[in-house]
């Protein structure tokens, strides 16, 4: 049990680095509170797995420190850090039985036979593997194998943290739900820090209390699912989370005001600086309404999802998507849109202006 701190952490797989793109992970500063359920969310190749492997000790970072409860662990190996990790693809020991697979991490740590037996049976029960315990592990299906991998991560009760690297990739969709709620349930029961890497926002938002969003090697935002939705700190969070994602429109900053096509837009906070090469205004489709006066648009298409309607519109600054109630009448042809001020943000060089 420990609080995990990453300080000024950067990692590159190259020997020399000339630009930001050469870093797989850069300038990461984050505290993972003890007992938290975290999701590490980001697209493929954003550095999630690298970050995870750095925490577990499989990779030595190029720069920066890792602390467990304010104690340096940068030079310790995974066993000394006492971390459990579950990988994307099932890793099983072919020649062993399911029981021996689950008992393996405990046997390596020279734990008494009785305790191993009790623990393995408990975990097998939870993962519904009890009936296959004496079978050879190599004979199982892909989800059976992944359950073993999960089980091996969960049998040790004293770990500092359990890390999941997209563990449900190979699992059937209906089982995904079951296993995910199992993990959630387990988290409440054993109260260990859990870090769950995924590129699937639903998975992240349902599993975690805190979601950490990564983009091009950087952590762009850490917060509750609601935070990420209501106040994306980076344009990437805006369009990566939510369906459809945030509308981002090029705009101008003029004397503290945000101007969209010469028209002043009320935003959450005033803009103080003007020193940006890229300036945008961001608003989620959920926070846009039709109104009698506002941004002139042309309605392009309406798709009804049953619960609500997604309306595609074309403004002079680009396409704007909005979500309307299923019962709402959608004007055809020209219309005006207004943005909810408290959920409309200005972004300078992709970062929120506060």
């Amino acid at each position: 049990m420990a609080k995990i701190t990453l300080k000024d952490l950067s990692h590159s797989y190259l020997k020399t680095q000339s630009s930001d793109a050469d870093w797989a992970v850069r300038d990461v500063n984050i505290d993972w509170e003890d007992g938290g359920a975290y999701a590490l969310l980001g697209p493929s190749g954003c550095g999630k797995t690298t970050l995870l492997n750095i925490i577990s000790g499989l990779i030595n970072p190029t720069k920066g420190d890792i602390l467990f409860d304010d104690k340096m662990v940068s030079n310790l190996n995974p066993v000394e850090r006492n971390i459990a990790q579950i990988f994307q693809f099932p890793v099983i020991y072919d020649t062993m039985t399911v029981y021996d697979n689950l008992a393996f991490p405990l046997k390596n740590r020279k734990i008494e036979e009785d305790k191993i037996k009790a623990k393995v049976h408990e975990i097998a029960e939870m993962l519904e593997l009890s009936s296959t315990l004496s079978n050879r592990a190599s004979g199982l299906t892909a989800d059976g194998k992944q359950k073993i991998s999960l089980g091996r991560g969960l049998v040790r009760s004293d770990v500092n943290a359990i890390m999941f690297d997209e563990p449900l990739t190979v699992i059937d969709p209906h089982l995904k739900w079951i296993l995910r709620s199992k993990l959630k349930e387990l988290h409440q029961k054993i109260n260990r820090t859990m870090i769950y890497v995924t590129h699937d926002q639903t998975e992240a938002l349902t599993f975690a209390d805190q979601v950490v969003v990564m983009h091009e090697g950087q952590i762009v935002q850490t917060g509750t699912p609601v935070d990420l939705f209501e106040k994306p700190k980076h344009t990437f969070v805006g369009y990566f989370i939510g369906s459809p994602g945030m509308n981002l429109l090029p705009c101008e900053f003029k004397g503290g005001d945000v101007m969209l096509n010469g028209k002043k837009i009320e935003t959450h906070t005033k803009v103080k600086s003007n020193n940006f090469s890229k300036t945008e205004i961001g608003v989620r489709p959920e926070f846009i309404n039709f109104s009698s006066d506002g941004i002139p648009v042309k309605v392009l298409s309406v798709s009804n999802t049953g619960r609500h309607k997604i309306v595609d519109t074309q403004s002079q600054s680009g396409k704007i998507k909005m979500i309307a109630k299923a019962s709402e009448d959608i004007p055809s042809g020209s219309a005006f849109l207004s943005f909810k001020k408290e959920y409309t943000y200005a972004y300078g060089d992709d970062w929120i202006i506060e």
Binding site: S56, L58, P78, V79, F87, V91, P105, N108
Partner: protein, 288 residues
């Protein structure tokens, strides 16, 4: 799916059939022909039935060379397989070292058999060869042309030098195909190096090792050129393995009938051992 019936397709099989007939079936049938008959030349043959087979099966000479053959094959397998795996484990997994090691490893495999024999013959000569001379200079009484132990030692050393690379390359390929996640998981699970080897690497190498053992068994069981050039089967008959003995019988003594019978017995032993071995190794695969 409906299959079109067209007997003309058989014509396309003819080239392969002819080829196989000329390089395998017809020569083999010639041997079968000799094995059941006696001839004094001039194309005159007399039916002998199973006489030559009985003679070979009961001959002490055949028993002795068969025994030598099995002993040799088992010794080189016991050395080459573990040694090959050990070398493969120490080879670099990435970087400039990989091609260097691979080329170095392939070199012995590219040298023709009789050149290997000649090389080792000269290398091991007790008076002028580097190996032979050095051993004698170090106080060992080494002479592979006269002492049985030395002849075996040199023959085995030569085969290990020539063929361990094959085991190395196959094992290396097997090792390279193991996903990094297996090693990472083992590290997380706190597995010892030995456990990683026995629980991950060895099971994952099972298939390539099966191939390696089979190939090395067949090749060493049929070995001819290298010991022939190195020791000529001597001193005496000490290193006369099955092939060498067979050639002595067929071409040296011109006993075509017994030699043909011996060839067939030899052939069936190789076939049988390979089949038994392969079946045993693959037996577990069916359960999975």
């Amino acid at each position: 799916m409906n299959k079109t019936i067209n007997q003309k397709a058989w014509f396309f099989v003819i080239p392969v059939f002819v080829l196989v007939a000329f390089n395998a079936i017809i020569p083999l049938m010639t041997v079968v022909n000799y094995a059941f008959q006696e001839t004094f030349g001039n194309n005159v043959f007399m039916w002998e039935g199973t006489r030559w087979f009985k003679q070979i099966m009961l001959s002490e000479r055949f028993h002795a060379s068969l025994g030598r053959q099995f002993l040799f094959t088992f010794i080189i397998l016991f050395i080459q397989i573990p040694l090959g795996i050990a070398i493969a484990l120490t080879m670099p997994k990435e970087g400039i070292g990989v091609p260097i090691c691979l080329v170095l490893m392939s070199m012995p495999l590219l040298i023709p058999w009789n050149v290997v024999g000649a090389m080792w013959n000269i290398f091991a000569l007790p008076d002028i060869g580097f190996l032979g001379h050095s051993l004698n200079a170090l106080g060992f009484d080494y002479n592979f042309t006269q002492q049985i132990g030395d002849a075996w030692f040199t023959t085995i050393l030569m085969d290990v030098w020539h063929w361990t690379s094959l085991v190395v390359l196959l094992s290396y390929a097997g090792l390279q195909s193991i996903q990094p996640a297996y090693y990472q998981a083992a590290e997380i699970d706190g597995a010892s190096r030995w456990a990683v080897f026995t629980k991950i690497e060895l099971p994952k190498m099972k298939k390539v090792l099966t191939i390696a053992i089979l190939l090395r068994f067949m090749d060493s069981f049929m070995i001819y050129t290298e010991p022939f050039v190195l020791t000529g089967g001597g001193p005496g008959n000490a290193t006369a393995f099955l092939s060498i003995d067979l050639v002595k019988m067929a071409l040296g003594q011109f006993d075509l009938g017994p030699a043909a019978a011996m060839s067939l017995i030899y052939f069936f032993i190789v076939l049988l051992v390979c089949w038994v071995f392969y079946t045993l190794m693959m037996r577990n695969e069916g359960n999975q």
